[in-house]
């Protein structure tokens, strides 16, 4: 013993009163030797525990674990550490314990040296951890459920909005069909009005009556044009496009006649025809009249009333052009960009004239039906020019 240090208790006493329970068992778990600390914890005397088996001191759950984990591990590894069991005291209480064991061979016998530690505090701490863990798992479950509910709600909303979109499309389709039907049915009463006007016109009328009859005639004609625009619109939108019947056309004469005829409808305004080039052309005369009358109507409405409106027919090698020009305010670029879409109206004009915004759309559709196109340019200096470019002849696809 080094000088100056106190002498510790004997080894025997140190064993008996060690800070942990100490056991020696044979390989079947029978207790051969044990210390006072262990006996004290369980409330047994040394004699009561000698020759009893270690597993018999455990609760049933611990005994199963001892059989399925402890015993094979000890066989395979020769030692085992930090296994937690519940031990049953003499008075029936259970105490949580941690066990370490090591297998030793003395001569022909195998012995297990076991150290036992009471683990009350650790046990409580672990219980807290386990409770916290199950609380966390519970929360996770709730949060997962909430997320699932959210995803389902989202899916429902998505379904809802696509249903709404489909419903809106249905409504739009219905409205367009409705427009076609109503326009068609309006023609009959209008033709009655028009016919009756003619009948009345044959009799003797005073000046006021004659003026009124003139207004009836103009209003009826305007209503008829409106209806045929609406019908063309619905045909273009729903019926796969406007149909045309192409026939040989004396283009310049056709345009000159039309300009003369339409000029009468705009008293006080100048409508000038122009012709360039020569050659055969094909087109649907009715549709092209409609096209030109729409463009000329626009030019009269939006153009400078003091300036002439010029209508030019121009025959080129492959195509022919119909150009309608007027002076006046420039059409802004943003308006120009959407000019040929339905329901778009020129700037600064409210409900004057016949426009409900279908005219240029129909012009475009007629041009397309002729496999051509329409374009518009507008500048302050040169005024506004609409140019319809159509092929002179459409070749019938060769049959093979």
């Amino acid at each position: 013993m080094p000088h100056g240090l106190p002498s510790p208790p004997s080894t025997d006493l140190a064993y008996e009163q060690a800070a942990c329970g100490l056991l020696t068992t044979d390989s079947h778990g029978r207790i051969l030797k044990l210390n006072e600390t262990f006996c004290g914890w369980l409330g047994y005397s040394t004699a009561e525990l000698l020759a009893s088996r270690l597993p018999s001191l455990l609760t049933m759950g611990s005994r199963i674990f001892h059989q399925t984990h402890w015993a094979p591990l000890l066989e395979i590894q020769g030692s085992i550490a930090e296994v937690k069991f519940e031990m049953r005291c003499k008075d029936g209480r259970t105490i949580p314990v941690m066990l370490n064991a090591i297998r030793r061979v003395h001569g022909s016998e195998r012995f297990d040296e076991v150290a036992v530690f009471v683990a009350e505090d650790r046990h409580k701490y672990e219980q807290e951890l386990l409770r916290a863990r199950s609380a966390a798992e519970e929360l996770l479950k709730k949060s997962t459920a909430a997320q699932e509910a959210l995803a389902q709600a989202q899916a429902r909303l998505d379904g809802e909005s696509s249903r709404q979109r489909a419903a809106a499309e249905d409504r739009a389709l219905f409205a367009e069909q409705m427009m076609g039907i109503v326009s068609h049915d309006l023609r009959n009463p209008l033709s009655v009005v028009s016919l009756s006007g003619h009948v009345i016109g044959r009799g003797a009328l005073d000046v006021m009556q004659s003026d009124a009859l003139g207004r009836i005639g103009k209003a009826t004609a305007r209503a008829n044009r409106l209806i045929s625009d609406l019908l063309d619109f619905t045909q273009a939108r729903l019926g796969g496009g406007i149909s045309v019947k192409r026939k040989p056309l004396a283009l310049h004469a056709f345009v000159r006649d039309l300009v003369l005829e339409l000029g009468a409808a705009y008293p006080g305004r100048t409508l000038t025809p122009g012709a360039e080039g020569d050659g055969d052309c094909e087109g649907d005369a009715d549709r092209l009249s409609q096209l030109l009358s729409n463009l000329i109507g626009n030019a009269m409405t939006y153009g400078n009333p003091q300036s002439e409106v010029r209508v030019t027919s121009r025959i080129q090698p492959q195509v022919f052009e119909l150009c309608v020009h007027n002076d006046g305010d420039r059409i802004p670029d943003n308006v120009l960009a959407t000019l040929f879409e339905p329901m778009v109206r020129g700037p600064g004009v409210k409900t004057i004239g016949r426009s409900i915004g279908l005219g240029l759309y129909i012009v475009q559709e007629i041009a397309r039906a002729h496999e051509g196109h329409v374009s518009a340019t507008s500048t302050e200096a040169d005024g506004t020019m609409f140019t319809v470019t159509l092929p002179r002849q459409v070749e019938t696809p060769a049959r093979i």
């Binding site: 609760t59 049933m60 759950g61 059989q67 399925t68 591990l73 395979i76 590894q77």
Partner: protein, 267 residues
């Protein structure tokens, strides 16, 4: 699907017939290290880990599939088909004895013989049948499992999964043979100890040896007697052993009893 990886299948030994060893609840195929070598000179020896145990692919653990022993039985038949040659002799410890029995009943003819080490057809007492446990004992086991797996953490998984090129990782782990994911261990414990396959035992026509320990908490003598009465083609051999793992504690006596059975059966 890679069955070798899923079940960490290992093949050793040489012979015309194949012995397939399946471990029980708790540890892994290392349990066979003292017994299987006794057969390696005459048989092809296949050992593996049940999915969820040892170095099996924990990612393959499908709670629904392994909610009964039938899921494990399907795996066993796949292992036998892929790794077995010649006659197949199945050695199942504890719960795996029942897994082998279910696999056989699913596809009769696959196995030439069963050797059941400490089997139990049902663990919970029921009327005259003494399985050895009450329902609350199983609850108590689940609590014990829970507190013993506290030290297991998910970042140990790669080491447990075994990186063959880094064996030093495995060395540091104590108790590694019995470690696995705590949730899987609990589920497997519940499935094992609440299983009841008493009604299936009479369906096993294949010759079967029941290796019964003289003193076994998990599979008491009463259970061995049940098998003796119920197995159509069974042989019971009682080994003098205290505990549930005679293949570890008395490997010599266990091997001897098995060899006697195999000779009698002409295998």
């Amino acid at each position: 699907m890679d069955i070798r990886k899923r079940n960490n299948v290992n093949v050793t030994g040489h012979g015309l017939s194949t012995m397939v060893f399946a471990h029980g609840f708790g540890c892994d195929q290392s349990m066979w290290r003292l017994l299987a070598p006794a057969f390696a000179d005459r048989y092809r020896v296949v050992t593996f880990d049940l999915v969820g145990s040892g170095m099996s692919d924990l990612g393959a653990y499908d709670v629904a599939k392994y909610d009964s022993l039938h899921g494990y039985a399907e795996d066993l038949n796949e292992i036998v088909d892929e790794f077995g040659t010649g006659k197949i002799i199945f050695v199942g410890h504890s719960v795996s004895a029942m897994i082998g029995m279910l696999a056989d009943i699913k596809a009769p003819g696959r196995f030439a013989a069963h050797m059941m080490v400490g089997p139990s057809a049902a663990y919970i007492n029921d009327g005259d049948y003494v399985g050895g446990f009450e329902r609350e004992d199983i609850e108590s086991l689940l609590r014990t499992l829970e507190s013993n797996y506290l030290g297991w953490s998910s970042n140990m998984a790669p080491a447990i999964m075994g990186a063959p090129d880094q064996p030093e990782l495995g060395v540091e782990l104590t108790n590694s043979f019995c470690r696995t994911d705590p949730d899987i261990a609990k589920h497997f414990a519940k499935v094992t100890f609440t299983s009841d396959h008493r009604a299936d035992v009479p369906k096993l026509q294949t010759p079967a040896l029941v290796l019964q320990c003289s003193d076994d908490l998990i599979a008491p003598r009463s259970v061995g007697e049940f098998f003796e009465k119920t197995l159509p083609n069974g042989t019971i051999t009682v080994i003098d052993n205290i505990g549930h793992c005679p293949h570890l504690s008395v490997p010599g006596a266990s091997a001897k009893a098995m060899q006697v059975f195999l000779e009698t059966a002409g295998l």
